[in-house]
């Protein structure tokens, strides 16, 4: 067995590529952990090595089924890491694989560090000595990328919500610590009422954040998406193409009534809630009349904007204006009608948007839709698409940390209610503070002491 005592998990397949995604779990409790959330005729704990099992992943707390899956059991040392490994193959797209991973993280596994499976494989002798340097390069590059992403997120709206929560907890912790380390000092004792109040306030907000997380807001409602463009750009054919690709979860039958204003399509597992679909499907003369004006009103509330341009025509003044206006918004430029001769000068758009955000398609011929799907996934997972008015929690690591923080706060509140001594409750408060810190990439330690000595006047 490896030198690590704990069990790790991560998505093992590249996101946004292919419809089957695999969650890999490795470590001494891999089998037990997955078994807790696996509903099947097979009992994983008694399963033989190298066997595949059919069943469902379901949340044991509320019975909610997340996905239909195949589970592979590979017992150490005959596995990639030489530890017990369980692989869960999901097929419900990115959202499903993320929620399966999050459930597994809540039931005993820890999110793997970048390159950690490979590291374990090497440390357990599964990878040849000659590969040591390659393993190091992998860890370095993955960690650096993760670090950059984390730094970007630390400036994001999630961090803005976490920072004040941590501030409340550390103020409480400093107060508790002063009571312990300076018992004769004239600082009021922290009462269990104060602990319950502070932890309760923070817990409410943690729960609120979790509700906005992927499994909540995004699954239920999808990303609010506006398809905008000039009347003849091909908005409705793009919409129809998305539906035709059998990727649509249509909330109502499209086009049958003018009352329908939105519907949901699933693009690469990410649900997009399309705004004003009735408007898009209306007869062309009406569209002519409403034109860009109507599209503009949809822009205000959109989390994601798909700007459709007609490659068969030169850029219109309205379009140029839209391009400028949407430059700093989460927008993709869909250059449609690539089956027809080009009249559009793309280089100008590339200089504004960068080629990553430009997707050439032919909605009519069904060309380029996979690329569109990949582009949407990229935006979604890089954090550049955020649900408006709510802090969107995209990262499974963050969701797991929020769950842990919530659990610790609940423990602290319960303990305070039972009259448990304050120095024991502190263990739970600290755990919550540290879990929230993982989201910011902060580490505990000296900063608690800083807080104590800036908050209280102590001395001999």
């Amino acid at each position: 067995m490896g030198m690590s005592e704990d069990t790790i998990a991560a998505v093992a397949t590249a996101l946004g590529e292919g419809s089957i995604a695999v969650v890999r779990v490795s470590g001494p409790e891999a089998i037990e952990t997955v078994d807790k959330v696996f509903r099947s005729k097979s009992d994983l704990r008694s399963a033989a090595t190298h066997t595949v099992h059919y069943g469902w992943i379901a949340d044991p707390d509320d019975g909610r089924v997340l996905d239909e899956v195949l589970v592979t059991v590979l017992k150490g040392p005959r596995s990639f890491t030489a530890e017990d490994v369980v692989e869960v193959s999901t097929h419900g797209g990115i959202i499903a694989v993320k929620s399966v991973l999050e459930l597994i993280l809540r039931h005993g596994a820890r999110m793997a560090e970048p390159g950690e499976f490979t590291k374990r494989a090497f440390l357990n002798g599964r990878i040849d000595l000659a590969q040591a340097e390659a393993v190091i390069d992998l860890i370095r590059s993955k960690s650096d990328r993760a670090f950059q992403l984390a730094r970007k997120q630390s400036e994001g709206s999630l961090s803005k919500r976490i920072v004040p929560l941590r501030a409340q907890l550390i103020e409480l912790l400093a107060h508790v610590e002063v009571n312990i380390d300076y018992p004769e000092h004239d600082v009021a004792e922290v009462t269990s009422g104060v602990i319950r109040d502070t932890c309760g306030t923070v817990l409410l907000q943690v729960k609120d954040l979790l509700r906005t997380a992927g499994e909540g807001k995004i699954l239920r409602e999808g990303i609010t998406t506006a398809i905008v463009g000039r009347p003849n750009a091909g908005k409705s054919s793009l919409l129809n193409a998305l539906a035709r690709e059998n990727k649509a979860i249509v909330t109502d039958i499209p086009g049958t009534t003018r009352d329908i204003v939105e519907e949901t399509v699933s693009l690469g597992g990410i649900p997009l809630r399309l705004l004003d679909t009735a408007g898009i499907r209306e007869t062309s003369d009406v569209v002519e009349r409403i034109g860009v004006e109507r599209s503009r009103s949809a822009l205000g509330e959109a989390d994601l904007i798909l700007l459709v341009l007609n490659r068969h025509e030169p850029l219109h003044e309205d379009e140029r204006e839209l391009l400028m206006q949407l430059k700093d918004r989460p927008a993709l430029v869909v250059v449609n009608k690539i089956d027809l001769p080009a009249q559009l000068e793309v280089s100008e758009i590339v200089s504004l948007y960068g080629s990553e955000r430009i997707v050439p398609v032919s909605a009519k011929e069904g060309i380029g839709l996979d690329e569109l799907e990949a582009a949407v996934s990229r935006m979604f997972f890089s954090g550049s698409v955020e649900a408006s008015d709510l802090t969107y929690v995209s990262n499974s690591r963050h969701i797991a940390a929020l769950h842990r923080a919530g659990k610790s706060l609940e423990d602290a509140i319960a303990a305070a209610g039972e009259g448990v001594p304050v120095d024991l409750i502190q263990i739970d408060i600290s755990a919550a503070w540290e879990a929230l810190g993982e989201i910011l990439g902060d580490t505990a330690g000296e900063s608690l002491l800083d807080q104590i000595f800036s908050q209280f006047c102590l001395g001999k």
């Binding site: 340097e133 610590e177 312990i180 120095d423 024991l424 002491l449 006047c457 102590l458 001999k460």
Partner: protein, 631 residues
């Protein structure tokens, strides 16, 4: 004028709280030991507060005692007041604190040292270390005496290039107007050790007969005091304790200080050393916490045969005339006579990341440092390092491997690991919040944690160890008995539960389950189902704590277990971090400076990321496989 004055296994320089523990440990472990001090009247002197213990510090005293050290026994014999603090909180943070008769404390310690076999106590100021090829060989004193040694322990306190500051006045001095040690500091610097300048301070002392105690609140000791040492039984002076007294600063105090800030060295720039945040002077407190209308002042007697009182809370480096006015603005001190003036003191300390966890310097073999020279503050912190430096110096002389206390084993371990791994940019004080396993490092279980180690290294005598084993076995047996004992929901049990406000039993439960209820105590269960042989109070306490808090205790034990593999994964001493491909530059520098002994220690260095640790692990695996292939 130099002459050869003798040869020893271990020489300890400085007979403060670190030095005496180091010297006693070394001599008790069988080494011929010389303890040198600038002034023989200053052995185990308390230059600041006349007290020992408190949260974390008191825990350290218990640990020293559990290892076979002297501080606990000595304070038990010489206290004038004893209090258990934090009794309203969990057992882990209960903390014993004693007021000492500071003169008796010194004399008792000095006598213990004088009686100790293989230990020579001598007055002399060491000015030079003799070092040959990176190994310390002896010391030279100011009077020309040259002593040979196999190992040397430096416990110089605040003496190194000491400088006393009061207002505009500044002079070279050790604490309490002792001679400072200037040449030794220069010697350390020339040997290549990196030194920093730290600062601490002490309040004025006043005459008892000039205090109006009617304007203060009395702070008595505990009626039935507990003791620091596991060996101490009953002491008669427990019945005759002296109180402390509480008063507060006034508006007038704050006005005087604010009016004279231009004369305060802290603000005029005269002080260059870094002072501790947790121990600010009164002028510092009033500037930083301007909104706080008054500050607590405790008046503490310095002994039974003296009229001197320590004014706790009034540490200051204001000029003498301002100090007197500050004192007289405090209720109860209107007519006070100031016997000694408070002062700030600056001194040289060794940057502690230059040490191995054994407290041996990396630069000079067989040279150990302990106490304030390592950047700490406090008698207990000093003594805790002192005993470890003494143990490890003796073991080095005997060719044995160093003893290192883990962070999960004791506050001493937490402190030393913090110092040698993270360093410190201010005088370091132990706080319980520095320990991640606070629940395991309890005041009550220091013997369970460390006495087996003390026995193994030869500091705990056979008789004491047997007594310890008996206690341990009886506690375990009693927990087992309670686990086996069934309590039915009968009349006796239900009325006991009702009396203490606990819900009635629905089913039969075992004693352990019942005792986990917050309202139920061991004493109650004992009345219903007595142990075959009655346990001592200490054993009863242990049974109760181990059962009552087992849930939390097990959680922490699990954490310790999880991290243990990291702690056990050794890093070879000679490793060259610069050639490790993939390590970040900052990690390379920090690792090369600290030279951690294990992956666990490396993980606590700030600036070393999890990715760096992974890379280090992969490198070590590579290294091990290559080495194994070559062998």
């Amino acid at each position: 004028m130099g002459y050869r004055a003798g040869d020893y296994d271990v020489i300890v320089i400085g007979a403060g709280h670190a030095g005496v523990e180091a010297a006693l440990a070394s001599a008790r472990m069988g080494c011929e030991t010389l303890l040198l001090t600038i002034n023989l009247d200053m052995v185990a002197f308390m230059p600041c507060n006349p007290s020992v213990g408190g949260p974390a510090k008191g825990h350290v005293v218990r640990e020293i005692d559990a290892l076979g050290g002297e501080m606990g026994r000595n304070i038990d014999r010489t206290f004038i007041q004893m209090r258990m603090l934090n009794t309203g909180k969990g057992p882990a943070v209960h903390a014993l604190r004693a007021q000492a008769d500071k003169f008796l404390y010194q004399h008792t310690m000095k006598e213990t040292i004088e009686k100790q076999e293989r230990l020579t106590l001598r007055q002399g100021m060491v000015e030079e270390l003799l070092v040959e090829e990176g190994v310390v060989r002896g010391v030279v004193t100011k009077t020309g005496a040259e002593y040979g040694a196999k190992a040397v322990v430096l416990t110089t306190g605040t003496y190194l290039r000491g400088k006393v500051i009061m207002g505009e006045l500044m002079y070279e001095s050790g604490p309490n107007n002792q001679q400072p040690s200037v040449k030794l500091s220069e010697c350390l610097r020339s040997l290549g050790l990196q030194l920093v300048r730290f600062k601490t301070g002490t309040p004025p002392r006043v005459h008892q007969d000039t205090i109006d105690f009617s304007k203060t609140e009395i702070q008595p000791g505990d009626d039935k005091p507990k003791y620091f040492s596991y060996e101490t039984e009953y002491l008669a002076h427990s019945e005759n304790q002296l109180p402390c007294w509480l008063t507060y600063t006034s508006e007038e105090t704050h006005r005087i200080i604010n009016d004279n800030l231009h004369r305060a060295p802290m603000f005029s720039g005269a002080i260059e050393g870094t002072g501790p945040r947790y121990c600010p002077s009164i002028e510092d407190k009033i500037v930083r916490f301007a909104d706080k209308p008054k500050h607590q002042i405790f008046l503490e007697p310095e002994g039974r045969n003296t009229k001197e009182y320590y004014v706790q809370g009034l540490s200051t480096s204001m000029p003498e005339d301002v100090q007197l006015r500050i004192l007289r603005s405090i209720p109860g001190l209107e007519n006070v006579d100031m016997m000694r003036t408070g002062y700030a003191i600056e001194y040289d300390a060794v940057v502690p990341t230059q040490l191995w966890p054994s407290l041996e310097t990396k630069l000079i073999q067989n040279l150990f440092t302990a106490g304030q020279i390592n950047g700490t503050s406090g008698y207990e912190e000093a003594a805790g390092q002192g005993i470890m430096a003494g143990i490890n110096a003796a073991r080095k002389v005997k060719g044995e491997s160093p003893v290192i206390i883990d962070r999960s084993q004791g506050y001493i371990g937490v402190m030393i690991d913090d110092l040698v791994t993270k360093g410190t940019n201010e005088p370091y004080r132990l706080l319980t919040s520095r320990a991640e396993y606070r629940l395991l490092l309890r005041h009550d279980n220091a013997d369970l944690r460390l006495t087996p180690l003390g026995y193994e290294i030869g500091l705990i005598p056979e008789t004491r160890y047997r007594k310890f084993l008996e206690k341990k076995e009886r506690v375990e047996a009693e927990i087992e008995r309670l686990r086996e004992t069934k309590f039915r929901p009968d009349e006796a049990v239900q009325s006991m539960l009702e009396a203490c406000g606990s819900a009635p039993l629905q089913n039969t439960v075992d004693g352990v389950t019942l005792l986990r209820r917050p309202e139920v105590t061991y004493e109650m269960l004992e009345r219903l189902s007595p142990a075959p042989v009655e346990l001592t109070d200490e054993m009863k306490e242990q049974v109760e704590i181990q059962i009552k808090y087992s849930g939390y205790i097990e959680k922490q034990l699990l954490q310790v277990e999880r991290l243990e593999k990291m702690e056990k994964k050794r890093i070879p001493e000679g490793i060259d971090y610069n050639i490790i491909h993939g390590l970040a530059t900052e990690a390379k520098q920090k690792l090369a400076q600290v030279r951690p002994l294990s992956i666990g220690q490396a993980s606590r260095i700030s600036g070393v990321t999890p990715a760096d640790l992974s890379i280090l692990l992969v490198h070590l695996e590579h290294y091990n496989r290559v080495t194994a292939a070559q062998a």
